[in-house]
Structures are given as C-alpha cells and as structure tokens.
Symmetry: none
Subunit: 214 residues, 2 copies
DNA sequence: TCCTCCCGTCACAGCTTTGCCACAGGGGCC
DNA sequence: GGCCCCTGTGGCAAAGCTGTGACGGGAGGA
C-alpha cells in the first residue's frame, strides 16, 4: 500500500497488518515504536484496536482514516490515540506528525525544560534550582535571580546598571557595591575556586559576564 | 474570541495574547500547561513564537491556523509544535486534541494516565483522590485543587500569584498569607514530617514546588 | 615605578519572608 | 434552623537575607 512504501522511503521499518486482529498480534509480537492504524479495518476497527492496545501499552498510536467527521476525531482521540490524520495525506505530513509524536514520547522522563548548562553547573529556571555536578546548591532569591539573568545572556557582558535594572528592578545611578557584593556571594557558592572565578568573570570597567565553558 | 470562550466552557483556564510578543510574555509569566498558537499573528508569527518557546521549554504547543497547506503543517511541526490544527475547528475536536497532547506528555516521573505518583503519594486526578502508601488521605476541595495544580507541573516552582490564579482564580496583587496557609494545611496532611517537607518545597522569594522524588 | 581607580571582601543591623496559630465568618448538610 | 467543617485573615516570632560603608589589594595607565 502507498503509505507503507512512503514510510519505508522515509527510513522507517514497517510491518503491515490487514485486519484488526492481525494488527493486535503484530503489536504484541513486534513491539513497534509507533502504530499507525487505519480506522476502517475488517474485523475489529481501528478504534477498538486502539482501545485494546491502550489497556496495557503506552505505545504512540496515530489513527489514519478517510472519515473526517468531527465525531470520529473525538472518538479516535478518546480511544487513546495520540494523533488523528485524515486521508489523503502527503507522506511528508504523515512523517512530520510521526516525528512530532515520537519527539513528545522521547522526553518522557528527563524532561530538559527551561534549563541552562555551564560546565557542571546546571541552572533549572523552571524549578528554580541550581546544581553543580548533580549536587544541589542553595542560593538566596537575589543570588538566584542574578544567576538566572546572567544565564539568559551567556557570554555577554552586563553592566552593573543593567544588572541593577534586571535583578533589583531599580534605576540606581550612583556608585554602589551592591552588585559586587551579590556577585561575590554567588561566586562563593557557585565557583569551584571563588578567588579564581571561571564562570562569572569580571569585565573591568563594565560589569560581569557568565562564560560558557570553552 | 470564539475559541477562548469554547475552551473556557470546556473547563480550561485561558489567557489570551493578541500578538506574538505578548504570547511570549504570557508564556513566561503564566507558565501554562499548554499553548495554543495561531500562526497568523501580528508581530512574530506562530512558527517563530513556537521556535522561541522551544529553545528553552517543552510545554505542549498546538498550532492553530486557517492555512492548511501541507508545507505549513510540516513547517509547524518541525518548529516543535505537538499538533497542528486547521481552522475552522469544532470546539470539542480542539478539546480532544488538547487532551491527547496533554495525555501524551509523560508528565514527570510515573505519570500514568491521569495519575501522578510522588514517592508513596498517589494523586488520582480522575477520581480526585489522594493516597499515601495506599491509605486514602482526606483533603478539602481547596487543598486538593492546590495539590493537583502543583502535581500538573512537577518540579516546577510556582509563584504565589500563579497559584492564586490557578487555584483561587483571582488576580491578587497585594500581600496575602492565603497560599501559605493552605500549603501549611496541605503539608500537615501530606508530608510525613510536616516541619521538614520533602514533597512541597518552599522556594524562597518565589513560592512553592512539588518535588518529584529523586 | 608610582599613582589612580576599580574591584573584592567583610561584618552588621535592619528588614523581608515564611511558618505557625487562633479566630471568626460563611456555606453546606442534615 | 442548627451544627460542623472549611476558609480567609491577621498577628507574631524566628530565620535568614540584604544593603551599606569602609578598607585593602591589584590591575592598568602615565
């Protein structure tokens, strides 16, 4: 069938079933990475196959069908399918949808969300946690905010005034050791050798910069 | 807009942006569970917004558009979107697709279907029950809602304001001990040692976070 | 070499933030 | 109508964070 050919061309390994029962058997024996199911199958229809697979397995399922009724889409998705595609479909569209589903599947556990990595320093901006070599570092709110702002602009020198505005949210114009003091406290917790900072570098006459390693 | 209304009716909490820039800002401040993006936006278009969000965040994104060109679908999905829906769309179809994407998103550690597991704490969001070590814990409606919202974003720090919006549904700007009080009551029931919380962690200067164990 | 800024460092006092508690109003259920 | 549970508020104390000013050292320029 045309779809099988197209998927094979796109580099997927494909096994095909002619009936719903056959599909279930294939799924059990082959344990595929992803299932593409036509709804109109002899024997068990696609919805039913989908539901049976879902009873025990979280394998990604894409329903494929010529029926484009809204109600079918809803029923299909509520049977546990991950996507519902209406035929006719361009091979590359199907491929894109397959990859979207697989992509989502891929990062199930170690979800690298809003995270920045500098050497062995990991800044998780979603959890608002910082670890070095996997060991959590306890930072105060201001230190954390400062580090986050620096990490948003890696390798870019930020003036004290910019930092005051970003972190402290006030336009200080006078001379102040405020930023320096906070940077010092941050270095004490974050740098391996605080007296020889490798991450938070001083830019003389300007301010500070968070260096990406190497 | 019609879609917002429909989604609200379906029980979702909705925040709307008029431009791409606004969307990015909303995403950053509100940390939604899912983003629905129209491709045709003034300013940055949906593809670009999608790509920018994807640089740092794995939040589910559904692209919504009147353009049904195959190439658009492919471009959209390759921008990192999880689904691509062509307008006009029936509200319940959109809802089904939203729920499919959310279901697919293996949220955190041992999230089976609508159940979240944190150590020996099991939150069944379908049954709206919570057990610890198999023993049911009786929570008040507000406590339950708070725990559910936290469990939907495991490991992510949520500000008091975000929690007020999610759980209490009001935009409080002033200082309030409301969230703290509820967290304290929740901890008393949920934590093994309430004075040394392991699940609901305080993020000083921010708010709270539900930690996935280890 | 010397001088001049600029930056690192430190300690402390004030203040913000949070945990905890008690209480009263209100809503729901009998 | 009465009772009970839930919920929001205010207060209090403790913990911990933060900003400031002074001082010394070091880097860079003359």
């Amino acid at each position: 069938m045309a779809i099988e050919l197209a998927l094979t061309r796109q580099g997927h390994q494909v096994a095909t079933a002619a009936t719903g029962e056959e599909a279930l058997e294939l799924w059990q024996t082959q344990r595929p990475e992803l299932v593409v199911l036509d709804v109109m199958l002899p024997g068990l229809d696609g919805f039913e196959v989908c539901r049976r697979i879902r009873r025990t397995d979280q394998v990604p399922i894409i329903l494929l069908t010529a029926r484009s009724d809204d109600i079918d889409v809803v029923v299909g998705l509520e049977s546990g399918a991950d996507d519902y595609v209406v035929k006719p479909v361009q091979p590359r569209v199907l491929d894109a949808r397959i990859r979207a589903v697989l992509r989502r599947q891929g990062n199930g556990v170690a979800d690298i969300g809003d995270t920045a990595v500098f050497g062995d320093l990991v800044i998780d901006r979603a959890a608002m946690t910082v670890t070095r070599g996997g060991v959590p570092i306890s930072l105060t709110p201001t230190e954390l905010k400062l580090l986050v702002e620096l990490s948003r602009r890696p390798g870019q020198a930020l003036s004290r005034q910019q930092l005051l505005r970003l972190v402290w949210d006030h336009d200080y114009l006078g001379d102040s050791r405020l930023v320096d003091a906070c940077v010092q406290r941050l270095r004490a917790k974050v740098e391996l050798v605080p007296s020889d900072p490798r991450l938070i570098r001083t830019v003389r006459g300007i301010g500070y910069r968070l260096d990406p390693p190497r």
